[in-house]
């Protein structure tokens, strides 16, 4: 492939939205009330919308008549580039909110910078998505505060969720070789530079939510290299089920 690095770079962004959207899709109809069901579905729809624009672009780069669905659904697990954070399961609503918030803050910072990409298509997707993503962060941030500063039970659950996901945050700021090439050429965003703003924002919200900022210095990584957690295979089994069982058909 001629633009392998650009292709990899796009997947690095797109896969996060796809996998998180897939997790949120599991929840549809099972939320704590109709209002949160509707809001979480909205977020999933935004993520799938963005992801389709990225994969359509990636499919064009890949050539060979590839479609967005080929790129999204017909890779082996090792070729998915999403961070470990987004593939973690919906253990309870506190986990859903913690995972969402810890991703949303990053996502908004990324989209803000991506608007300035030299790649017109990526910049356009970012410009279109930024309003959506800032709504996501408002939604998850508000719920973080509600659950943190709600009842004793909810604070315990929310603190446990934040502690659980904290080790997955550092990976957001790693860059792969392809990322570095794209940063050099003015297409990619140097996510390592977003780290400070990220932890500042997260710390402020946690404090407002009366939650402790975890002090755990041990972080987990691997997703960007395609080394995922044990949850990922099951998620992909569902995602890919139809495409694998009935290859080469239109739906």
């Amino acid at each position: 492939m001629k633009n392998q690095d650009l292709y990899n770079y796009i997947l690095g962004i797109a896969d996060n939205s796809l996998i998180l959207g897939q997790r949120l899709g599991e929840l549809c109809g099972h939320g704590p009330n109709l209002e949160t069901d509707i809001a979480l579905t909205n977020i999933a729809l935004d993520l799938f919308g963005q992801t389709r624009s990225y994969y359509q672009y990636a499919a064009r780069i890949a050539g060979d008549g590839k479609t967005e669905d080929d790129v999204a659904m017909l890779r082996v697990e090792r070729d998915y580039k999403n961070v470990l954070l987004v593939e973690q399961p919906n253990t309870h609503f506190g986990h859903v909110i913690a995972r969402q918030y810890l991703f949303d803050v990053f996502h908004l910072l990324l989209m803000t910078e991506l608007q300035n990409s030299k790649d017109e298509t990526l910049a356009a997707v970012a410009r279109k998505g930024i309003k959506e993503v800032s709504y996501h962060q408002r939604f998850s941030g508000d719920w973080l505060k509600r659950l943190g500063d709600g009842t004793e039970e909810s604070r315990t659950k929310m603190q446990e969720a934040i502690d659980h996901f904290w080790p997955y945050t550092a990976e957001l700021f790693d860059t792969t070789e392809s990322d570095q090439k794209m940063i050099k050429s003015g297409i990619g965003v140097d996510v390592s530079l977003l780290k400070e703003s990220y932890y500042k924002e997260v710390t402020e919200t946690l404090e407002e939510a009366t939650l402790d900022v975890p002090e755990n210095p041990y972080f987990k990584k691997g997703g960007k290299q395609g080394i995922h957690t044990e949850h990922m295979g099951f998620l992909l089994t569902e995602l890919q089920y139809m495409q694998r069982t009935y290859p080469n058909m239109s739906w």
Partner: protein, 318 residues
Amino acid sequence: MSEKEVKNMEEIFEARIARDEKIEPKDWMPEKYRKTHIRQISQHAHSEVVGMLPEGNWITRAPSLRRKAALLAKVQDEAGHGLYLYSATETLGISREELYDQLHSGKAKYSSIFNYPSITWADIGAIGWLVDGAAIINQVALCGTSFGPYARAMVRICKEESFHQRQGYEIMLTLCNGTPEQKEMAQDALNRWWWPSLMMFGPRDEDSPHTAQSMKWKLKRKTNDELRQQFVDQTVPQADILGITIPDPDMTYNPETGHYEFGEIDWDEFWQVVKGHGPCNKERMEARVGAWERGSWVREAAMSYAEKQEKKKIAKAS
């Protein structure tokens, strides 16, 4: 109010219905009218919410990103319908908690069709085409119903449902124009969803206990059998276009009446599912009750947080 006064009010009320005037929540209404409406509108709301489950079952497995997004949006619409139907019910003086209690305890019913399993992707097409198709026929008839909030909710819901139905039919069309395997999947879905869809219109007129009163109050404007016939007449030609066969050997067109005559519905199956012994009654209730119970700490936290915020505001002001 004395008995004579009540009788007088009832007469005025009946006359308003006869003139096709809308009844609004603050208007006087007979207790039985209120109760019947709480029963029917909440039953409709519950159906929307339980109806999210068989389709939600396919969100993670939808065959393409386009279909996945469309299905998510559809299920989300159903949640929205549930919301405004619950709101319409609340105007009659009952809380959402009470309504949920009725659903979870099995006191309130929901449409039996959602007690059937969605086991292949074609079922998502068949549900849109047949189940939403049948629902629209029921609901268009309700747009002219006498209770204002219900009639207005119906107008809005019908618009979205007809979009869902077209989407479902389009899924079927894509399958029927696809590979033999896909077409077979479509036929199989039609075989399984056809009879339950006919049952959606309820028992035969002579076995329907509420029809007479509901017709009088214009809560219903056509009988179960009339609506069922309308559905059959509309759907048979659509199956012909798809090139799949309605699973009814007795189906014949009567050129004199202009109607399709169809075979006998299995009423034993109908009553079995209504009474709670269908393929998924238990699973649907477990899913609803489970979601509600798992969410209780979240709802409590939200209430507690709102109270704290309110206190802070008051403290700041004073």
